[in-house]
């Protein structure tokens, strides 16, 4: 799991005359927790979308584990090992929680045995404390539960880099604890996590490295102490 290598090289994104992302370069080479912060409109979401293949960058290149992924469709990027969540949860409403988990499972491993995938999904749901909801339609879930479901879906992809877009927004404190635990667990499994959040406290608390976006440009990067997880 240690051979993580994400490399952004002078990524730019223009919308008409508006430079949303301006020659951003950075790389991730080891399982670490990275915070990505910046004011509203700084280009965080755009950068995420470019990274995950939802948008084609106007210029620049992105390599993930030696494979060029810029301009590739999102599903290619996902298969290359980069998973993301959305700022506003995008659970697949009229599908059950288990079906939500099976979509990425089957998409990545079409030949796997269904029972194995289901067992794996059940395990992940258990870790996220929503195993009792397996057969519910996901639109019947609360906002926080949907967030957990999204995090769970990500693990079915077995990505090497995970982008979490505002994982704590609008989530009940009790469930926030679960998300913290999830992040540590995933990190321990040897995956790199890029954390995007308005909650500066949480980001400072968690990240080992901090990227600050301002007007589309990466202004500074500074290391940051990682505190121990709260009990």
């Amino acid at each position: 799991m240690s051979d993580i290598n994400l490399e952004l090289n002078k990524i730019s994104m223009r919308f008409g005359g508006n430079q949303a992302v301006d020659h951003v370069s950075f790389s991730v080479t080891k399982p670490e927790l990275i915070g990505l912060i910046g004011p509203n409109g700084a280009g965080k979401t755009t950068l995420t979308n470019v990274l995950s293949g939802m948008l084609k960058p106007s210029s620049g290149t992105i390599y993930l584990n030696g494979k060029r992924i810029d301009g590739h469709p999102a599903y290619d990027v996902t298969r290359a090992g980069l998973g993301r969540t959305f700022q506003i949860t995008r659970a697949l409403g009229r599908m059950t929680v288990m079906e939500n988990m099976m979509v990425p499972g089957l998409a990545l491993k079409p030949n796997a045995r269904k029972a194995d995938l289901e067992a794996r999904a059940q395990e992940i749901l258990g870790m996220l404390t929503i195993e009792h909801l397996t057969h519910e339609l996901s639109r019947a879930l609360s906002g926080g539960q949907r967030k957990l479901l999204e995090l769970g879906r990500l693990l079915m992809l077995e990505p090497s880099v995970i982008i979490l877009d505002e994982p704590f927004a609008g989530v009940h404190p009790r469930l926030q604890e679960t998300i913290y635990k999830y992040i540590f667990r995933v990190h321990e499994d040897g995956k790199a996590i890029i954390l995007i959040s308005h909650d500066m406290g949480a980001v400072f608390e968690l990240s080992q490295r901090l990227l600050v976006l301002h007007n589309g440009a990466l202004k500074e990067r500074s290391g940051c102490n990682r505190r121990l997880p709260r009990p």
Partner: protein, 389 residues
């Protein structure tokens, strides 16, 4: 423990009901199998059933395309037309590669061969259209497919030298049976078998991983893509698949099985809208529902032609007639539209949904969900309706 037992009994009930559901389904199929042997029924009834089967295929495949895969196409009838027209033209004119000096004569195509080619061409056009439609969503997709099917219809109508124009094009007859009564029976079973096979194949697709991916794309294409679903491939695939199904159904139906000739009027937007209305009334997201919707709606529309509502209730006009006489024949499409609109608004899953859920026991599961959520009130509601980008 009491709670658990309740759940168990509910699941039992659910299983019991599902069994009952299968029994009912089996009885319905048996009825359809027995029906042509009922000597009291006329050939007309069989004819109505044959075209009912055809529209059931059309509607249920549209339900697969629009209801399950979320691709809101108005071009379904056009793909059917492509299948039928290509089969007819091939059987009449063969294939000419004028520049290469190769000509395959019509004689080298049997009826079955031309049907197969018609189906393949429908699939091929579906491939091209599906690829072109990748960039378009919802309203744009609907508009584009309307434009496509209108263009196709106008071409079929205007190039009458090749297509027969509004006289229509007759395909090479698939079955040549002299005895009228037996012929209708064979046609009936052929069309019914086609419907069953199509439904089974579509059911299998809808419940395979492909169906899962299609539903994921319908719910949220970006999210599905981010979860590794190859949205391009499956979108095109479903277009090709449904186009081939309707192309096949069209080529067979118009090979003198259901109708002797295909006419361009069959491709009008009105006909397409009827298909959509059948699917909506029966249930857009259920293949069986859409098929049954088509069958029942057609029957109702047919029945309403003849119905005269008269309300005497003691009221009579001067010459002793009924005070209020209402012939529904002229109004039947208007009423049909009203039913469709209200179904959409108040029973989005179709009028048959209550039956389907009851038999599948899904309503019990829903009650459970409500009770679970009630005990789980840990919610901070997020803002509704905001868009990600």
């Amino acid at each position: 423990m009491v709670y658990l037992r309740q759940i168990e009994s509910r699941i039992d009930q659910g299983i019991g009901r599902r069994r009952l559901g299968y029994i009912v389904l089996g009885l319905i199929i048996l009825f359809f199998l027995w029906f042509p042997n009922d000597t009291s029924q006329s050939n007309y009834a069989k004819t109505v059933f044959i075209s009912g089967f055809f529209y059931a295929i059309m509607s249920s495949s549209w339900a697969l395309l629009a209801g399950i895969a979320g691709q809101f196409s108005f071009g379904h009838m056009a793909f059917m037309g492509i299948g039928a027209y290509v089969a007819g033209l091939i059987a009449r004119d063969g294939i000419m590669f004028a520049t290469l000096g190769i000509a395959i004569t019509p004689e080298s195509f049997s009826a079955i061969g031309s049907i197969i080619i018609g189906t393949l061409v429908a699939g091929l056009v579906g491939l091209v259209i599906g690829w072109l439609l990748l960039r378009l969503r919802a309203a744009y997709l609907a508009l584009f497919t309307i434009a496509f099917s209108e263009l196709f219809r106008i071409m079929m109508l205007t190039e009458y030298d090749y297509t027969g124009g509004s006289n229509g094009l007759s395909l090479r007859p698939l079955l040549q049976i002299a005895d009228v009564d037996t012929a209708r029976q064979v046609e009936y079973y052929l069309m019914f078998a086609l419907l069953i096979v199509c439904l089974l194949v579509m059911h299998w697709v809808a419940n395979s991983p492909i169906g899962l991916f299609l539903r994921a794309m319908r719910e949220d294409e970006d999210a599905a893509s981010a979860l590794g679903v190859n949205v391009v491939r499956y979108k095109i695939l479903i277009f090709v698949f449904t186009s081939m199904i309707v192309g096949l159904a069209g080529a067979i139906f118009y090979s003198d099985v259901g109708s002797e000739r295909i006419i361009p009027e069959q491709l009008e937007v009105l006909q397409m809208s009827l298909i959509i209305a059948y699917a909506v009334i029966g249930g857009m997201e259920s293949l069986i529902g859409a098929a049954a919707g088509a069958f029942i709606s057609r029957y109702m529309l047919e029945a309403m032609r003849e119905v005269v509502i008269s309300l005497p209730f003691g009221l009579t006009t001067a010459d002793g007639g009924d005070a209020f006489v209402w012939e529904t024949g002229a109004w039947r499409f208007a009423l049909f539209g009203v039913v469709m609109v209200f179904t959409l608004r108040y029973m989005r899953n179709g009028l048959l949904y209550p039956f389907i859920t009851w038999f599948s026991g899904r309503d019990l599961a829903m009650k459970e969900t409500v009770s679970k959520r009630d005990g789980d009130g840990d919610d901070i509601v997020e803002p509704m309706g905001a868009d990600d980008e």
